[in-house]
């Protein structure tokens, strides 16, 4: 496929529009470190978010490598169980709150103003603050690794009472760092909502916005709705641990199961917070490289809204074996199955967009297509997990681990990478190195499937999750998984190489870097100057 890439659009046929011609000169801010500390520019903050997210992706990845190295063979070889539990917990927390969510916020910072023709985010100083909360939060979280008693070791879902009465002393710091990360997300969400609702260029209606902007708007509302619930839950934990309340302690009239209800009332929408912007990115990339408008734009918007609403009604499907009454099991089984409908609509729309298009397979498209296939596989296992009686067998096994890694790694992470490849020409003015990107893609796809596909078998055969050592019949699956994980992990170094090379040089990209691209960001020069759209661009409706 690789060698048949079409010729790139040439520089002349896509001169930047007048609106995008803002010059770089009038940047008089501080230089050096201080410039980055104090910046209020959406592009610089976007880059900071993305760099932060990439470093967290590697730190969380190293933790995953420790886990996989220990699980390479049965028996305990490298680490002790208590450290193993800290690794799985930190891996989950860092990947969810430190890698995936900040990456999407970074992409939103960069691209939402560019896609709606706004000069910057609505609240630039707040934007700076919400970014700098993150390094503080995660430095604090990582520092728990060297505290006496070790880091949090109760899984990223931190079920009480393991995370309260039986938790290590560092739990208070964990709660504090999660509060900071939560505040950062909330502020980011407020900013994104304010930007999208108020700063669209004249003439752009809501239904003219790109799908990426739409999905982020809905995601931001989800964040506003559920991050306070997370804050509430961890505050209750804090009170239980340090002030003798008993929200989750049966001894004082509390209920450990209440913790799970509250956590998953946050947790399930949180899952969609991590996937809706991915839907948006893919919905932008596929039409570009199919050179055909997105099929069912309106349905896509409505399906996203539908998924967001339903996500509040399904939380207890994570708790099918906790002892729910029959009616509750049925309710949550039915409501969960319903989510398959709007999700299916999205997949059908993407495929119909491909149908009778004029397809090319540049790196962003490769990742977007892998997203569609592999996310759908994750959707299938999700449907199986929704069937409550069968979930009595699947629950808390590697089948679940396989499921959510399929939707999060080749799902959310691949979409982020697709977005990065897609917008790198806009950010740096250079195309990413094609060969290297293709190597990165194929090694990632093979690595991801080698890692996560055998997990389905291990789970069905009876392997519980979160164990440092396992019975002999799971040995083969685990060895393949570990080999795949190392392969996937190492191939991400290629991603860094591609990005670094692209920043430093490479084939020059014109303003409109991809010939099928339609959105406003392609009307400003590449690389995008620091200030864009200081006078709102003209927008002709009905591009969509």
């Amino acid at each position: 496929m690789a060698s048949h890439l079409p010729p790139r659009p040439t520089a002349q046929h896509s001169q930047a529009d007048a609106g995008g011609m803002a010059a770089d000169e009038h940047h008089h801010g501080p230089r050096g470190l201080k410039r980055w500390l104090l910046t209020t520019n959406h592009k610089e903050i976007g880059s900071l978010y993305l760099i932060f997210s990439l470093s967290m992706f590697f730190i969380g990845g190293i933790f995953a490598m420790v886990v996989r190295a220990e699980l390479f063979q049965p028996g305990l070889q490298l680490v002790q169980p208590e450290f193993f539990n800290q690794m799985t917990t930190m891996h989950g927390l860092i990947m969810v709150f430190g890698a995936v969510m900040p990456a999407f916020v970074g992409l939103a910072n960069w691209m939402v103003p560019l896609q709606i023709g706004a000069p910057d985010m609505a609240l630039p100083r707040l934007n700076n603050f919400s970014f700098w909360l993150l390094p503080v939060a995660f430095a604090l979280l990582l520092s728990t690794l060297v505290m006496p008693g070790g880091a949090p070791d109760f899984g990223w879902t931190f079920y009480a009472p393991l995370s309260t009465t039986y938790a290590p002393p560092s739990t208070t710091f964990f709660i504090f760092s999660l509060h900071l990360a939560g505040i950062s997300s909330i502020l980011g969400a407020i900013n994104i909502i304010a930007t999208i609702l108020n700063l669209r260029t004249p003439g752009m209606r809501m239904m003219d916005m790109s799908l990426f902007v739409w999905t982020w708007l809905i995601t931001a509302f989800l964040l506003i709705a559920v991050m306070p619930v997370l804050a509430g839950v961890i505050t209750m934990m804090l009170l239980d641990i340090n002030f003798g309340t008993s929200f989750f302690n049966a001894a004082g009239g509390g209920d450990p199961v209440l913790f799970q209800h509250l956590f998953w009332f946050f947790g399930h929408p949180e899952v969609y917070i991590m996937i809706l912007p991915a839907f948006g990115i893919v919905s932008v990339i596929i039409p570009t490289f199919a050179r055909k408008r997105l099929f069912g734009y309106a349905s896509m918007v409505y399906a996203t809204a539908s998924i967001a609403i339903l996500s509040f009604l399904v939380w207890a499907h994570h708790m099918f074996v906790v002892g729910l009454p029959l009616v509750a099991e049925l309710f949550f089984m039915y409501s969960t199955m319903l989510i398959a409908v709007p999700t299916g609509v999205k997949v059908f729309n993407w495929i119909t967009t491909l149908f009778r298009g004029s397809l090319t397979f540049e790196p962003p498209m490769l990742f977007a297509l892998a997203f569609v296939v592999l996310f759908t596989i994750g959707g299938f296992s999700g449907l199986m997990l929704a069937i409550s009686p069968a979930d009595f067998q699947y629950h808390d096994t590697y089948f679940v681990v396989a499921h959510f890694h399929y939707v999060l790694v080749p799902g959310a992470v691949f979409a982020i990478m697709a977005g990065v490849y897609y917008w790198l020409p806009k950010w740096t003015g250079h195309y990413p190195h094609t060969r290297l990107s293709q190597w990165h893609f194929w090694l990632s796809v093979i690595g991801v499937n080698l890692t996560f596909f055998p997990m389905h078998f291990a789970g069905l055969a009876g392997m519980p999750r979160r164990i440092p050592d396992y019975a002999l019949q799971f040995a083969d699956f685990n060895m393949i998984t570990s080999i795949g994980a190392f392969m996937f992990g190492i191939s991400q170094l290629l991603f860094v190489a591609v990005v670094v090379l692209c920043v430093r040089g490479g084939e020059k990209a014109p303003a409109k870097a991809w010939d099928g691209a339609e959105d406003l960001e392609w009307t400003v020069p590449s690389p995008a100057p620091l200030h864009t759209f200081e006078t709102p661009p003209r927008f002709e409706p009905d591009r969509h």
Binding site: A303, L313, V341
Partner: protein, 57 residues
């Protein structure tokens, strides 16, 4: 009012016509959609709960 209900229904269903959504977003007020959305969300909860309790018999 009927238009608002129909549009919100379409959102639950996940399918909407291009022409219709143009109308939604040029004419409707956001608050109407939000209120209708919440009410119909509740209606959906009750409907699923009803089906579940009938099935549990």
């Amino acid at each position: 009012m009927w238009r608002v209900i129909k549009s919100v229904l379409a959102a639950f269903f996940g399918v909407q016509k291009e022409s219709r959504r143009h109308e939604d977003f040029s004419r409707g007020r956001a608050s109407h959609f939000i209120i209708a959305g919440i009410l119909m969300g509740l209606a959906l909860v009750l409907l699923i709960a009803l089906v579940a309790s009938l099935a549990a018999r």
